[in-house]
């Protein structure tokens, strides 16, 4: 069945260090989305990538969609304590009206 895996599962970084999470799908995706969930909060939509090889930036966050549209990455430059949370990728489930969420990467930033 369709699977979306993320690595690493957990990441601890010193404030100011960079962080990257990787998302890999077992199937080709029409688009990939990224969400952030702060501790105790709900997931919040960050961005959607649609084109093969697409790169988008939001301030210190850089999102990439792989050429084969089966993988994606989120890179944060110079992490801050406000970046703490769990980052999920998600892609449309084949033939259905719902998303398949990745397993998530929990980021801890040490001040």
């Amino acid at each position: 069945g369709q699977q979306v895996m993320q690595i690493p599962q957990y990441q601890h970084v010193q404030e100011g260090e960079d962080f990257t999470t990787y998302c890999n799908s077992s199937t080709t995706l029409s688009n990939i989305q990224w969400y952030k969930q702060r501790p105790g909060g709900h997931p919040v939509f960050l961005i959607q990538l649609v084109k093969s090889g697409e790169v988008k930036k939001q301030k210190r966050l850089t999102f990439q969609f792989g050429e084969a549209k089966k993988n994606s990455s989120l890179h944060i430059t110079a992490t801050q304590t406000t970046d703490v949370g769990t980052y999920f990728c998600a892609g449309p489930q084949t033939g259905a009206n719902n998303l398949f969420f990745g397993t998530g990467t929990r980021l801890t930033v040490i001040p």
């Binding site: 709900h42 939509f45 009206n97 719902n98 969420f101």
Partner: protein, 111 residues
């Protein structure tokens, strides 16, 4: 603008008791609606989704059920709660199988 409401925010229920969680969306019509469950420190498990009034798709067989009596109302129910039903229940809406917008969630503890 669109707003999604969930209540209650927290709930403590004994094993064997019934459950009813409500989700309503404002500011949009005919949204796709979703119920997710998230165990502590874990990912998002899709429970049900609906593309219209009275149309419910179940993703995981269990002792929960969902109903959509009105266009912007989605209800999650159980006749008898189990300990394993504890978790963070999230409702979400979308206009397409693309970005989803989550409600604040209900933290359910079954004792």
């Amino acid at each position: 603008s669109q707003t999604i409401h969930q209540w209650p925010a927290t709930l403590v229920q004994p094993v064997g008791s019934p459950l009813s969680l409500e989700c309503t969306v404002e500011g949009t019509s005919n949204p796709n609606l979703y119920w997710y469950r998230q165990a502590a420190g874990r990912g998002l498990q899709l429970l049900f989704y609906s593309v219209g009034i009275g149309q419910i798709s179940s993703e995981v067989p269990q002792n929960l059920s969902a109903s959509r009596p009105q266009d912007r109302q989605f209800i999650l129910s159980s006749k008898k709660l189990l300990l394993s039903d504890s978790g963070f229940y999230l409702c979400a809406w979308s206009r397409t199988p693309n970005e989803q917008y989550f409600g604040p969630g209900t933290r359910l503890t079954v004792t």
